[in-house]
């Protein structure tokens, strides 16, 4: 392509409107810097998502009748061991109900405290004693949810799996059904894998 014969003119200043806009934005930034920062939620996004999942799991599972004293008794979600959720679960419990029941969050440190819990979450740090704890809970009709790699192999029912920066889950439907709990087909369809027999750990 030919270039024009006349030279470019001497440097000109940009149009007045744009300069005004630039200073206005500069002013915005200055004042924005003085506003108080938003309340910081220190809970990692991953656990916000997992807390939302626990609420959804409870929605899609039917417990056997003896699990609840009556139609008004609350659904108890328990966190076994250190609590990675911060205030997430409590915020959810405050605003939501499941099938008309209110939600109660309980932090559990020992098996004795686990009585009356309907859904129990086990964090990654509890790996060492998982199998034993899960075996002990077997008679209680508790939906067990975990996130460690060997959770389902150790007898757990639902396990979180991280995939491409997204939280997915695996379900061991047979283990839940043995305890009288019924997992909705909707949820089973969305699970990454649905196992029907727990893998046997090598002795």
């Amino acid at each position: 392509m030919c270039h024009p014969a006349h030279p470019l003119p001497a440097r000109r200043r940009g149009p007045a409107a744009l300069r005004w806009l630039a200073w206005a934005l500069w002013g915005c930034c200055f004042f924005a810097g003085l506003t108080p920062g938003l309340a910081q939620d220190p809970v990692a996004k991953e656990y916000q998502i997992k807390a939302a999942y626990l609420y959804n799991f409870a929605k899609f599972v039917e417990w056997p009748a003896p699990a609840f004293t009556n139609n008004e008794s609350p659904l108890v979600i328990g966190v076994f061991g250190p609590n990675p959720f911060g205030d997430e679960l409590i915020a959810i419990a405050k605003d939501h109900k499941i099938n008309g029941r209110s939600i109660v969050i309980k932090h559990v440190a020992t098996l004795a405290e686990a009585r009356g819990v309907h859904l129990m979450f086990f964090g990654d740090t509890e790996d060492g004693h998982i199998a034993g704890t899960l075996a002990a809970l077997k008679e209680n009709g508790v939906l067990t949810v975990g996130e460690s790699e060997k959770f389902i192999a150790s007898g757990g029912m639902i396990s979180f799996v991280l995939e491409e920066n997204r939280v997915r889950f695996e379900i061991n439907a047979a283990a839940a059904e043995r305890q009288g709990m019924k997992i909705s087909a909707q949820l089973l369809k969305l699970a990454k894998t649905v196992r029907n027999e727990p893998r046997q750990l090598p002795p």
């Binding site: 940009g14 910081q40 939620d41 807390a51 939501h96």
Partner: protein
């Protein structure tokens, strides 16, 4: 190739030669249309463009310095999570798509973007039994998707559709499938198994500042699943009135810890379109494609992907060749063979929570035949992107790229190239700064792409975008951007013999109508003004709206003609030629709305509506406004016994499409598709779908190379998918 001629319409009779072979010899010789006197350089226009670019660039830099370099006073650290407890309102499907990374890291949820973005998910594709990429694009408001025949589609965004719609950038896993030779996307060449598509991201509007030239009206990125997500065996067989049949086989396996691969093969047979009278149309396509993908995560911070595909296809379509001897047109069934392959590698590395690097390189080779002519192209592309936080408020991404294209063209009686070898080098760089003016409330994005193209020199494509989130459930965004389209090889060097008018008593010589390439074309320009609004009206109802005003300049189209009598030729004829020119400006404006309603946990509805108005500053039968209105309603219903009932009904307004020497009016139509899917067992899925149930057949668009119009009839097909 774009047949163009600016002559009053009349119809020629023609002899229909039915044969499926390539023509052994065409009766008439190749004619060189007379080239006219010089088109004339638009020197002052070019100069003004450079000045405008320089001023705009200067303004951008001033803004960036003013807003970006200022140190933050606030105590926050720029990360944002949703307020406590709000994620519980999402459905399980939505939770599955939530990214665990916060704003400071690489990924941003598209709801946080100051652009009109739609995502078509694998679930949408599976439920509607979608078999081709263009069919999937029908689900996006503002997209104009029209099927021409079993191999060709006209797809565009926000107007200016055509078989070679050229204002759209389309990528498969970051590899461009837009052909700069013919100027468009040959959709028939990309037969990606749709079961392996994770999602299709569509950005409507100029994506030029990140993606570069030709992303004028939109960017479509077809993203396939990672090998990690496609493990095991998949066998899928589709058969019916259109697919006869199509079979996909895929196998994925884990080679080592964090090393996954998959291999696939797909064979498609597409047929089944009809003529206006209900007869079977001659077009059909056979495609074989295979490929592999390897995904490796050597460490927590690194991801490496290696993938490659190769394909061969053969398609038959009706072709008209103009001829100087009676009957002045030869119509026959042209057989064309395409083939090609590509290899692509990508490495992403996370330096920290807020800094990452991505490097991608690919090599692509294809041979494409159309109307007897062909293009063989080799492309090598290298791209690097670096993202980091500057202070607490500036999320900066910058990158460098190189693309080299070498192509060879062969001619035919339909299209002749005045230059048959192309060597094109493109150096590009871009920078983008996302500035959190008010964390979680106001975000300003400044960016620009700079390209040095051997066809057109330096181009600057800046953008300014603002995103305001007044409440947790609403956001408003606005953008001003500039984009360019560099002329394609076709615009510059293709001479197309469109039609011959037979001698009349008044004029006893045949008249050859041709469109000529013009090597002195300037780039097309667009300045787009956009406004958008997203709102969650209730937990179950959300709305996404985008409005735009596009100001185009220098649009390329043939508008003038000149006539010359070729007495020296045998037989003598009159040559009427119409060269490509920077014809003039145009304005389009419109609106796109999308709404989603989760009526129950089992029933989801999506409605789309778009409206488009086009004002052209010139007339060319080739540049037609798009459909004024389009609307769609789709429903997905989960039934007991593991059944799904899915369907969609769409309305597309009438359009005018190029036809022969003038244009043809295509009436508006209503499409109704319904499907039933049964998840028989964990490993077996069966589906049956009815397509275009509302009408016996309808036309969507015309072909550039033939006057035979193919229509899409009512159809039914079934699919069996086995996974284990």
């Amino acid at each position: 190739m774009k047949p163009r001629a600016f002559v009053p319409r009349c119809r020629l009779g023609r002899a229909h030669v039915e044969s499926d072979t390539k023509p052994a010899a065409i009766a008439a010789p190749f004619w060189k249309p007379a080239r006219n006197a010089s088109i004339g350089l638009r020197t002052d226009m070019t100069f003004k463009n450079h000045l405008r670019k320089a001023r705009l660039f200067q303004a951008i830099v001033t803004l960036a310095l003013a807003a970006g370099a200022f140190p933050a006073f606030a105590a926050d650290d720029g990360t944002t999570n949703a307020p406590a407890g709000t994620l519980a309102d999402l459905s399980v499907e939505q939770l599955m798509n939530e990214s665990v990374t916060s704003v400071a890291r690489r990924e941003t949820k598209f709801e946080d973007s100051a652009a009109a973005i739609s995502v078509i998910t694998q679930d949408d594709i599976r439920r509607l039994g979608i078999t081709t990429i263009p069919d999937a694009l029908r689900l996006v408001p503002g997209l104009d998707v029209a099927q021409i025949n079993s191999h060709e589609w006209a797809v565009s965004v926000r107007g200016f559709n055509g078989e070679f719609a050229n204002k759209l950038l389309v990528l498969v896993d970051g590899r461009s499938i837009y052909s700069t030779g013919f100027g468009g996307v040959v959709w028939g060449m990309e037969d990606v198994p749709l079961e392996d598509v994770d999602r299709i991201e569509v950005i409507r509007g100029p994506g030029a500042s990140l993606w570069g030239a030709n992303a004028v009206n939109g960017v479509i990125n077809i993203i396939t699943k990672s090998a990690k997500d496609t493990q095991g065996v998949l066998i899928s067989v589709t058969g019916g009135t259109f697919d006869q049949p199509t079979t996909t086989v895929r196998y994925g396996t884990r080679l080592a810890t964090n090393l996954f691969c998959r291999v696939y093969a797909k064979v498609s047979n597409r047929d089944g379109l009809e003529t206006a009278g209900g007869q079977a149309a001659p077009d059909r396509t056979f495609t074989a494609q295979g490929g592999t993908r390897l995904d490796w995560e050597p460490s927590d911070e690194d991801k490496v992907t290696l993938q490659g595909d190769f394909f061969r296809d053969r398609f038959v379509e009706n072709q008209d060749y103009a001829s100087l001897s009676p009957p002045y047109v030869q119509s026959f069934n042209q057989v064309s063979d395409d083939s090609g392959g590509n290899v692509l590698g990508r490495w992403t590395h996370d330096f920290s929570d807020s800094s990452s690097l991505a490097i991608q390189t690919y090599y692509d080779r294809f041979k494409e035949e159309q109307a007897g002519a062909s293009e063989t192209a080799d492309t090598f592309d290298f791209d690097a992107q670096h993202r980091f936080m500057l202070g607490n408020r500036n999320d900066i991404t910058w990158g460098l790229g190189y693309r080299g294209v070498a192509a060879d063209f062969t001619s035919s009686p339909f299209v002749m190239w005045s230059q048959t070898t192309e060597h094109d080098e493109l150096y590009s760089s871009f920078v983008q700064d996302e500035i959190s003016l008010l964390p979680d409330r106001l975000k300003l994005t400044l960016g620009s792409k700079f390209e040095d193209n051997s066809l057109s020199g330096l181009e600057v494509e800046p953008t300014v975008r603002l995103l305001w989130t007044p409440t947790a459930r609403q956001s408003v965004w606005a953008a001003i951007s500039r984009a360019v389209r560099t002329p394609d090889w076709t615009d510059l060097h293709a001479d197309v013999n469109v039609q011959v008018l037979p001698p009349t008593p008044a004029l006893p010589l045949p008249v050859l109508l041709s469109a000529l390439g013009n090597p002195k074309l300037d780039t097309e320009e667009l300045t787009a003004y956009e406004l958008g609004y997203r709102v969650e009206l209730t937990k179950h109802l959300s709305l996404d709206a985008a409005a735009f005003y596009d100001d185009y300049g220098n649009l390329i189209a043939p508008i003038g003609t000149s006539t010359q009598i070729e007495t020296g030729a045998s037989p003598p004829y009159v040559s009427v030629t119409s060269p490509q020119e920077n014809a003039g400006p145009a304005h389009t404006y419109g609106l796109e709305i999308s709404a989603r309603w989760d009526a129950t946990d089992y029933w989801h509805l999506t409605a789309n509506y778009s409206w488009l108005d086009t004002q052209l500053g010139f007339y060319s039968p080739d540049t037609q406004p798009g459909p004024r209105q389009q609307a769609q309603l789709r429903s997905s219903l989960d039934l007991p016994c593991r059944l799904e009932l899915n369907g969609d009904v769409s309305f597309v307004d009438q359009v005018a499409a190029p036809y022969g020497m003038g244009q043809m009016n295509i009436p508006s139509y209503v499409r109704l598709d319904l499907g039933l899917v049964w998840h028989a067992t964990r490993n077996l899925e069966l589906g049956v779908w009815g397509e275009n149930l509302a009408q016996a057949r309808h036309v969507e668009y015309t072909s550039y190379t033939s006057t035979l119009v193919t229509e899409i009839p009512r159809g039914v097909f079934g699919r069996i998918t086995i996974r284990f």
